[in-house]
Amino acid sequence: MAVYKRRYNPYTGSLTAAWSRFFVLTRFAFLDLFKSRFFVLLLILAIVPNLFFAGYIFVANNKTVQLLMQIRSADFLAVETQYFIIIMTVQTNVAFLLNCWVGPVLISGDLTNGALSLFLSRPFSRADYVLGKLAVLSILLSAVTWVPCLLLFGLQSGLARNGWVWSHLWMILPILLCSAIWVLMLSLMSLAVSAWVKLRIVATGVIFIAFVIPAALGEMFNAIMGTYWGALLNLSYMFRIVLERGLRDPFRLLAHMGRHEIPVPAAWAVMILVCLFCLVILNARLRARETVRG
């Protein structure tokens, strides 16, 4: 149908599958993101540590290179669970920073000028909307957490011998689970903040505060009450517990620091509760029409 025909024509063509329409939001959001040079730079920087990790794995498994570099195998940290915990720790922190840049604008842009009513006046539910926005962050954060981690795992499996892959295959599940809860928690927190706060800088600040202030309050609670349960408010610590226990780290850093450990189920429960709380906020904020009581 030509553009020059200035008359109204009903649409009679085919339609896309209803279940796939949430992905339109994801696609448009990614197109917008990649227009930003700062985002591209941030993404490149987020991938750089993995190159070092890969280089380390290569050198650790290559005697010739070690000889050329005049280093001994004993100087190397073995590429075992501890190494993957380091990779995960670095990459989840990178994911946090990436999330702080991308997340705060995902929903606020639609809410600022009332565009949400246009989405919801179509055969498109609030769940589809959240799913579409969640997919943006989930794909992005996955690309810097479990995806590179599993690629490095694959690299190590290929370079190591003596059946390393079979003896370490169990690590895949904790890597995936720990990444999933971290990615989900960060994504939902970002979306909830984005639905509440319109200015990016303020929203980014709120995400930082959500990690720092409760952790500080928890420490105060511990100090005053002489307990260690206040650590439940420290989300980074909860993730650390889940990660270290999940990967059966024999040199648990937190235990070495002489701290009492929160049980792993409690750590999981806290992170799941945070996710549920964010969903409640999204449910309250994502309405086609706001109703004022009174």
Partner: protein, 313 residues
């Protein structure tokens, strides 16, 4: 058999603990329906309920046979909605914004892009389609909202105060567009407006709301067909005997202050007979307007009536 465009059955909607729509009941069968009423009458609430944004606490609202509450997604698949308030993504270019909305409605990307360009050119924003929507004037934003409402080719077009903030030429152009859209396809139209003229120029049937109740449902086509003629007179003299004589001729009269009389004339009575009766009674006719029953009369009548039963005043 053609389904009614809108069916309301005891529709009651509460917002923030306050009842906004009080058990509305009515059937509207025309293809172009106008929603009229003063501020706070419940027009936008009714539209939002039809779109499934508000859940009724009692009764039901159906459009083209689909219940807004239980079959909302299927209903919204048929709808193009132009909201009253600002609704756009400021940083997106106009054509990209419309394409985005069309894709969410289910159009494949290439079709959505083509339809977005077409809709933008159609509403008269062809030159501005690559500019961010945030930089548009108020009138242009209204047109962009109309473009996103028609791009996916809906079966029902819901327009909430479409001419808000538009200057007279822009308003005229928009009304022409709406009429064109209506005539170019079998699209149903639901137009909410404060402006009686907008509704009169585009709609066949009106639903008049007042305080969340139906004040009147009026088929404008039938009213126009009935062709009732009115005379508005300004007189000096004894009005009572004059109107009694006119009523004897078969006219209906209403007397207002300052000698103003409204006369509904049957087809058999000519204007010269009115002059003759006036001359016989010594009544001076200072001014005479010859007109037909307008939507304004219907609206004012509906606003003057009181009392409530079944959601009707």
């Amino acid at each position: 058999m053609m389904l009614p465009t809108i069916e309301l059955e005891g529709l009651e909607v509460q917002l923030g603990g306050r009842t906004i729509l009080h058990g509305l009941t009515g059937v509207l069968k025309s293809r172009a329906i106008g929603l009229l009423g003063p501020n706070g009458a419940g027009k936008s609430t009714l539209i939002n309920t039809l779109l499934g944004f508000h859940k009724p606490i009692k009764g039901s609202a159906r459009m083209l046979g689909l219940d807004a509450n239980t079959n909302g997604k299927a209903l919204r698949a048929l709808v193009g909605y132009m909201p009253e308030n600002d609704a756009f993504i400021a940083k997106m270019s106009g054509v990209r914004f419309v394409r985005y909305m069309a894709e969410i409605s289910g159009l494949p990307p290439d079709q959505a892009m083509e339809r977005a360009h077409e809709a933008f050119v159609y509403v008269g924003l062809g030159e501005a389609r690559y500019r961010p929507v945030g930089t548009y004037s108020l009138g242009m934003k209204q047109l962009a909202k109309l473009a996103q409402a028609i791009a996916h080719g809906p079966k029902v077009l819901i327009l909430d105060e479409p001419t808000n903030g538009m200057d007279p030429p822009a308003r005229k152009r928009l009304i022409e567009l709406i009429r064109e859209i209506r005539e170019a396809s079998d699209i149903c139209l639901l137009l909410s407006s404060h402006l009686l003229r907008d509704v009169e120029e585009t709609c066949d049937e009106v639903l008049i709301l007042r305080n969340g109740k139906i004040a009147s449902i009026c088929n404008l086509v039938e009213e126009r067909r009935a062709n009732r003629k009115f005379l508005e007179l300004e007189t000096v003299g004894v009005e009572a005997t004059f109107t009694a004589a006119l009523e004897a001729l078969g006219c209906e009269c209403a007397i207002f202050s300052n000698g103003r009389i409204k006369v509904v004339m049957p087809d058999t009575v000519e204007i010269r007979e009115v002059f003759k009766v006036a001359a016989d009674r010594g009544v001076q006719i200072r001014r005479m307007n010859h007109r037909r029953d307008s939507l304004e009369d219907i609206f004012l009548n509906a606003m003057e009536q009181t009392g409530a039963a079944d959601g009707r005043i």
